[in-house]
């Protein structure tokens, strides 16, 4: 497959005739067929996930080109960070267009070449952008078919297409290729209506597994990440950082640093940086800068944070309500009250935030590791006080994102410093900076009061989430009296927080599925059976039954001593259910995950192997937030600033993993996040099943497990 390089580099970038109007692609790409289309309502949906200050574009904003050589170029505003759309998008396009997979070229995230996109997050690429992209492809196909009919002197109905060749059905020798048809012509189509796309039964490339299209580039070291670009005269910047959040710079003395050869000092308001062509010289010079700060930190730490979050004034918002929870609680036969906590968690991508900024004429170019190239363009243009078209963001491959690279301060820093110094500037955060300026998954509290009848039907469900966020807070169970309330406040946290892979849902699912388990145990019910009895949604029932079958589940009441846990949930349009087995060392509290099974209903699956890889990744990454990952801090001072103190999952942790994707001919749904949401609950429930001890706080560290075991005795 040809998609093994980052295609951006194959496009002429400094073409003098290139103008900013996207329609001028015609000049850039020469002849061929150009399809522009509007995302319309879908775009509005995309933008609601974050505060976008840019007004939504009204022009045509997605783009497909079929060249004279038959090559198809798709421009999408999404980026590739390991989730695999660089592989699955070409599958979708080639299949819809009846052209070879190898002919598809992806250009991703370039703010000048690609249509506006709010960001690569929320597992939205396939399920939300996908249908619009396919509509454009279907239109391109029908245009080509009409042109083919003209060329071959027949009607479109008489024609078929295979591998980019249009031929007459009953005379295969009469044929013409896409490339031949577009040769020497410039055809522009503006698409308003969605043409009919293919039916599942017609899929040939979608639904089959393909290896990562970028695999070869990534195993040879050729794949380019932001830090791998070089420019003549480029300087590495090391920026003066405060010792803690809430510290303000009073004075900085750079005189000692200035004495070092080749050092450039840049200062602008709060930004103080030392730059050098050698990054280690810059680092050494930074150590010589003497700085004074004044401190105004929040008086909280990793232990008091939960009390703080419950006590500060917050805005309550009812997310969902059915029946009457107050009377439901009064009338419940058995009532359960619980409070769940989870700590701040870091994204910790292996590639720290990085950006190279340089001026090309009067345009600032950024090679930035960002999940939000257009948001970065907005932010940099505001900061520099220039028009949007004076900033171009070209994101290369990202070394992981997980939500953390939705924030782009490193790009703003690089752009400011490039402007100040007049040189190309590389800003590459150190691991310490990454652990300091990360937008952590917020610490959160969930309070649940639920009731169940002695016969095992959940009768009431009152769910309050504080600072987790509402995603995944819905009662997935069939409960007559239920209510979900979400609490939030500005400036509640001592440092930045943000979306972390399946934001909020990890916290909410941990709480919900732990509570369900509590009730099942109390009733002496099998936890799978209890869930099946209280669910109505066919697709949720489907994944539960599938995972039980995959596991070979034998019903038992908890705690069975087997160390088996179960949990299920819904995220990004997909349904997931997990079963896990753990071994708990009752002397140390150390938990070893032995085996995890996961069944997922994600509608039609474009690339099954690619999706399984995401499920495996979710399971392994999810073990981290479940067992060890916790940001430790005092006020604004982060104590977990390296990998010696912040423990992410390792090879020795890897359990036996079994996965199953349900075979569905339904609209494709998200795949990058769903399988991570159950990991807290499924392990907590397994720990209970092994020990009879219930854990109410993530991560479930050995100390907390020991505490819970002592409490249970």
């Amino acid at each position: 497959m040809e998609n093994n390089k980052y295609y951006r580099d194959e496009l002429p970038e400094n073409n003098p005739v290139f103008e900013l109007d996207r329609r001028n692609f015609v000049k850039l790409l020469g002849g061929g067929l150009f399809i522009y289309f509007q995302l319309g309502e879908l775009l509005t949906g995309l933008a609601t996930e974050t505060e976008q200050r840019r007004s939504l574009p009204t022009d045509y904003n997605a783009f497909l080109h079929i060249g004279e050589d038959g090559k198809v170029t798709a421009m999408v505003g999404k980026i590739e960070m390991g989730q695999g759309i660089i592989t699955s998008f070409p599958q979708m396009i080639a299949d819809e267009l009846d052209t070879p997979l190898e002919s598809i070229k992806m250009v991703m995230g370039d703010t000048e070449l690609c249509p506006y996109d709010a960001g690569t997050w929320g597992s939205l690429s396939t399920r939300v952008l996908g249908p619009s992209l396919l509509a454009a492809v279907a239109e391109a196909r029908s245009v080509l078919l009409t042109m083919g009919a003209e060329y071959l002197g027949t009607k479109p109905e008489e024609l078929a297409i295979e591998n980019g060749i249009i031929y007459v059905k009953n005379n295969k020798s009469k044929k013409v290729s896409y490339g031949q048809l577009t040769k020497g012509r410039k055809i522009e189509k503006y698409l308003d209506v969605k043409p009919k796309t293919k039916d599942f039964s017609e899929y040939k490339i979608r639904g089959k597994s393909f290896r990562h299209a970028d695999g070869v580039a990534k195993v040879t070291g050729e794949a380019m990440y932001s830090g791998d670009f070089r420019m003549p005269g480029m300087l590495y910047a090391k920026i003066l950082r405060p010792p803690s959040h809430g510290a303000t710079l009073v004075s900085a003395d750079t005189s000692e640093a200035e004495k070092l050869e080749g050092i450039v000092i840049a200062r602008d308001k709060d930004l103080v940086a030392v730059l050098h062509k050698d990054p280690e010289k810059a680092e050494a010079a930074l150590a010589k800068v003497k700085a004074e700060y004044k401190f105004d930190e929040m008086k909280v730490d990793d232990k008091t944070i939960f009390k703080h979050l419950l006590e500060i004034p917050s805005e309550a918002r009812v997310i969902k309500s059915a029946g009457d929870v107050e009377s439901g609680k009064k009338n419940a036969e058995l009532i359960f009250e619980s409070e769940f906590y989870n700590s701040y968690v870091a994204h910790s991508p292996m590639e720290p935030h990085t950006a190279l900024a340089y001026l090309e004429g009067d345009q600032m170019i950024l090679r930035a590791s960002t999940q939000t190239p257009f948001g970065t363009q907005d932010g940099v243009s505001r900061e520099l006080g220039v028009e949007l078209d004076k900033v171009r963001v070209i994101p290369p491959f990202l070394g992981g994102g997980f939500g953390g690279k939705s924030a782009f301060p490193q790009a703003v820093e690089a752009a400011r410093l490039a402007k100040l110094t007049g040189k190309p500037v590389m800003v590459q955060w150190t691991r310490k900076e990454e652990f300091f300026y990360d937008t952590f998954r917020p610490a959160a509290v969930v309070k649940i009061t639920s009731g169940v009848s002695k016969s095992g039907k959940i009768s009431v469900w009152d769910f309050h989430e504080y600072f987790a966020g509402p995603r995944g807070s819905d009662t997935i169970y069939d409960v007559p009296d239920s209510k979900t309330t979400s609490y939030s406040a500005r400036d509640a946290h001592p440092f930045g927080t943000g979306a972390w892979r399946a934001p909020a849902n990890n916290t909410n699912t941990f709480a919900r599925e732990s509570q369900i388990d509590r009730m099942a145990v109390k009733l002496g019910a099998d936890p799978v059976d209890f869930r099946l009895k209280n669910l109505k949604d066919e697709r949720m029932l489907g994944v539960l039954k599938a995972v039980a079958e995959l596991w070979g589940w034998k019903p038992a009441k908890g705690p069975s001593g087997r160390g088996y846990g179960i949990a299920c949930g819904f995220d990004a349009g997909s349904y997931v259910a997990h079963i896990a087995e753990v071994k708990v060392d009752q002397k140390t509290g150390k938990v070893k995950v032995i085996r995890v099974a996961c069944a997922q209903d994600m509608g039609f699956c474009i690339n099954p192997e690619g999706s399984i890889i995401q499920m495996e990744g979710c399971i392994i990454m999810g073990m981290g937030y479940a067992l060890t990952e916790e940001v430790m801090f005092t006020g604004g001072d982060i104590h977990t600033a390296d990998y010696g103190t912040y423990q992410i999952p390792l090879f020795s942790w890897v359990p036996k993993i079994q996965t199953k994707i349900l075979d569905k001919n339904e609209a494709p749904q998200g795949g990058g996040e769903p399988a991570i949401i159950c990991m807290g609950a499924v392990i907590a429930n397994a720990i209970f099943d092994a020990t009879g001890a219930r854990l109410y706080q993530l991560p479930m560290t050995p100390a907390r497990v020991m505490e819970a075991i002592a409490k249970a005795k």
Partner: protein
């Protein structure tokens, strides 16, 4: 005048003025533009910067350039021969043993280093030997399988 140091890099003799405080990682990335060797933490925890020095997998972020004098260094760029992937690289491709790809060069170099010392690695030895190479995407399972597929074969 700065002192020059000489060493062998991916099979070629190279020379570089010795800069005080420079590590192998940044010499590779800046002086030689071999950017496949990644900065992940700079503290020796993560293994993204792993290269082979005289037959041993080492963390290039912790190697001072003065200690590289006379040594043989192999980086990820030096593993494929005439465009043909090394069996370990091919195994990573075949097993889809990567996602974002940022830790991949370090993973491959560490696995290659382990296999140089013991071509008959068992699954347990692979896990033990790879333990301190970090992957955030969660590709571990496939990385183990990829290395397992070449261990004990005539490929290495």
């Amino acid at each position: 005048m700065a002192k020059n140091i000489q060493f062998e890099l991916n099979g070629k003799k190279v020379e570089l003025p010795l800069e005080k405080g420079q590590t192998l990682l940044w010499a590779l990335r800046t002086n030689f533009n071999l950017t496949g060797t990644k900065y992940g933490c700079g503290e020796g925890y993560c293994g993204a910067c792993t290269v082979i020095m005289d037959g041993e997998a080492v963390r290039s972020c912790g190697i001072a350039m003065e200690d590289v004098s006379g040594k043989k260094i192999t980086t990820i760029e030096g593993l494929a021969v005439n465009g043909k992937l090394h069996p370990v690289q091919q195994a990573f491709v075949d097993h889809d043993a990567l996602q974002c790809g940022f830790c991949t060069p370090g993973m491959i170099m560490n696995a290659y280093g382990l296999l140089l010392k013991n071509p008959l690695l068992t699954r347990e030895q692979i896990i033990e030997g790879m333990e301190d190479n970090f992957c955030r995407c969660g590709a571990h399972k496939r990385i183990i399988e990829a290395i397992e597929s070449v261990a004990g074969t005539s490929k290495v």
